[in-house]
Symmetry: C2
Subunit: 295 residues, 2 copies
DNA sequence: ACAATCAATTAATTTTATTCATAGATACGT
DNA sequence: ACGTATCTATGAATAAAATTAATTGATTGT
């Protein structure tokens, strides 16, 4: 009754803006689409488009169908991809989702030995999710989630895979460069460089500045780690990054790490997956590799 | 390529155990199914079943397809149901999921005025979820979740709708009936009656007994609230229930509430939904009604 | 007012799905 | 061990469905 082809047509008409254009993309005639959808409308008993002059506008039912199409078609595509991998004797594709910038840096270290070890598994990394990483796991958009926020719920399995300290990075010539640690107040006269995410998702805000009621002099947003460090090195501001990351760049750049507060800020990265996938060998292997890296 | 019909056949063959039986259920001939699936196997390049004598056994690819079928077919069915509701001018079905027993009692109070107010909306209540309530929300199995554990994640929206106190219920003739409150130690000689859920999901355990390292003399499991209260009334044990629930039965049954600890145990019930559904009027109305009930 | 563009429609045609009839294989009962 | 019942697979025939070609009517922009 409601077939994959119907969903495909709805989605393509929405993308292309007209039946004719969609027909071109789908390698069919405009007439074919018109017939197919008319039949569906009759079967459902409701119109999908309002015919306004020579253009189409989705009805409420049509809009709903479009949402369904956008949700289910990618899953069908994925299923086919997966099956073709079975056919070729390949293992599959490991779709990894990430929810934080340090996650990415950590991931880089793991993926490379993983690819070497599992030559018949492809790795695909995604960063944007309509409903967040958890939603992407539940929605079968990804198979593995790298995140600082684990979620112990039925159907999911999380495991800490990396501990690190979040530190302040300053130029070697900065006044704070020699300090054993820095207090929130000392940042009120600094320019803070961060990745472009909401401030309450930044550790330096929610675990350091906000509890003390302090704001930096200015807040600048930088996309990439390397540029951020170069800005810090040239004295344009300070940033908060994982200690291990700072240390790796310490040789080539004039930057030094400084502890945030007396205790420092301890962070963890978690790896999460669906319980249903618990016995996929190449997924288990990723967890295993992550555990090894930890020590 | 991979069509709904293929998924339907895979699922039905799995349910019925044979092509022939599945063909009967699907109102087709055995030959039709055989042809259809053979074509799919050729297109995919991989077998779906191992032909063992006169019976079929799923290959790895087939098992995967079955999983896909069990995941996607219900969503397609749901979409059709929804569209037929659009066609009839009905609003739709509100699928509510529940994750705790007090939730059910609370829900009963809300659903009845809701049904009166929204005569063109059906309500369906589910209690079992393969991947928990959160998974059911993300997986479009339900539209609304009633739970004591909210989850503030992108894509979801939670809201507290009910505050109550969890109290101990004892018979009117029980030694504790007159006490202002009860300490954990006093339960070590009692028989505790609870709903059949894991103990660490029971508030009286994880918030009262376990912190004090106390166990009750015995622990009996009862399915329904009424029987539980009758058991309590007849002096067969004590139970932990919401205060308002106990008070509602206080007239007809010989039971009294007693505070758990000096502070009492404060509880909240939350209502959760997908953000994407935020502007469905009959869903908004449910939240609204819940808010009103609160005061 | 005219050309261009788009969706709907009808009838013809092609493609696809389904059935019928039958063969081959295997389990089960006697 | 033999026959029977019960599976699935297969080829040819048939029914059903999707698709096209050709055309119409409507609308937009120039």
């Amino acid at each position: 009754m409601l077939e994959r082809s119907h969903l495909t047509i709805i989605r393509e008409v929405d993308r292309q803006g007209s039946l004719t254009a969609a027909a071109g993309v789908l390698c069919l005639t405009q007439s074919a689409l018109s017939h197919t959808m008319k039949k569906l409308e009759q079967a459902l008993g409701t119109d999908i488009w309002l015919r306004e002059g020579r253009s189409l506008r989705l009805t409420q039912a049509g809009q709903y169908l479009l949402d369904v199409a956008n949700r289910l078609l990618p899953q069908l595509d994925r299923a086919e991809e997966r099956l073709s991998q079975y056919a070729q004797g390949q293992r599959g594709t490991l779709r990894i989702g990430m929810e934080c910038h340090p996650c990415y840096q950590w991931l880089l270290k793991i993926v490379s030995p993983y690819l070497a070890q599992w030559s018949d598994v492809d790795v695909d990394v995604k960063q944007k999710f309509q409903f967040g990483g958890i939603g992407a796991l539940f929605g079968f958009e990804i198979d593995l989630l790298v995140t600082p926020d684990p979620l112990y719920k039925p159907g999911l399995r999380f495991e800490p895979v990396f501990d690190y300290e979040q530190v302040l990075v300053v130029s070697r010539h900065h006044a704070l460069a020699m300090a054993t640690h820095v207090e929130p107040e000392q940042l009120s006269s600094e320019i803070l460089l961060t990745y472009p995410v909401e401030t309450d998702r930044l550790d330096i805000y929610n675990q350091f500045l906000q509890p003390a009621g302090i704001s930096p002099k200015r807040h600048k947003v930088i996309e990439t780690t390397e540029i951020m460090l170069q800005m810090v090195a040239s004295g344009r501001g300070v940033a908060a990054l994982p200690r291990w990351l700072v240390e790796r760049y310490a040789n080539e750049m004039e930057v030094v790490p400084v502890r945030l507060g007396q205790q420092g800020i301890a962070k963890q990265i978690f790896l999460g997956a669906r319980e249903a996938d618990a016995n996929i060998d190449y997924l288990k292997a990723f967890f295993e590799l992550a555990r090894q890296q930890m020590s």
